[in-house]
């Protein structure tokens, strides 16, 4: 518990420092804001068991940056090519990640990955719109799921 409070407090204090652009003029107000944020976060998101690993976070961010760059370049190439090689299709993808934050992060990130946009999520079935049917969309979604599972300290089945 104390561990969680300290960790979250440090996180919010860092956020305050960034928002204040390093200025120390209003640190009193900052302390109040940080305390309020920690209290609110404990209420809304109680401490839970689970291993948070910095390595997994870095892996996710790196994967995300690389994939969103690929996604952007791909869609830019399609938009600017004289004959866009579009052959869109719908794909029903079975989601292995549990409901809650992991699933939310999956659907949110898929919108930025190359060639996929989430259309609707019903239970464990996610309908994806794929920009080009020749793309390995399901395999890429699987790879993303694995990275997210590691971030939340779980393994995909």
């Amino acid at each position: 518990m104390l561990n969680t409070v300290l960790r979250r407090g440090a996180g919010f204090a860092f956020l305050w420092w960034v928002l204040a652009e390093g200025s120390t003029v209003a640190w009193g107000l900052g302390a109040v804001a940080v305390a309020a944020c920690v209290a609110a976060s404990l209420r809304l998101l109680p401490p839970r068991q689970g291993t948070f690993s910095l390595a997994a976070l870095i892996a996710f961010v790196a994967f995300f940056l690389w994939q969103s760059m690929r996604g952007g370049l791909q869609v830019a190439a399609m938009a600017l090519s004289p004959r866009p090689g579009l052959s869109p299709c719908m794909l029903d993808y079975p989601v292995a990640l549990p409901p809650g934050p992991p699933r939310l992060l999956l659907v949110a990130s898929l919108g930025l990955m190359p060639g996929t946009v989430g259309v609707r999520l019903d239970d464990d079935r996610l309908r994806l719109h794929v920009l080009d049917a020749r793309l390995p969309a399901a395999a890429e979604a699987k790879a993303l799921e694995a990275v997210i599972a590691r971030l939340f300290g779980r393994r995909t089945a």
Binding site: L19, M69, V75, A79, L112, V119
Partner: protein, 104 residues
Amino acid sequence: MPPWLEYASGTLLVAGAFFYFAGTVGLLRFPDVYTRLHALAKADNLGLGCVLAGLALQAETLAAALKLLLVWPLALAASAGVGYAIARRADALGIAPWTRDKSK
């Protein structure tokens, strides 16, 4: 500001402008709402990322640079939420996705 930093920043700004432009072209050219969503969600967000990174390189303090970079995840969260809402709405309205065979 050292010249190399200035060049790096300028390059990122121009790259950002390019992605925004590609997103707009995609929006104008792509055949249906789903494909247009791809163009905006991916190209524009990458454009924003490039612009913010380019500006962050010019920031005078580390905190100011991080503040600029903080805008990106927020904008991404917004576009993920709005993008999903648009796709789901289109699906609920019964808008069939454009396919290659249909156009021929």
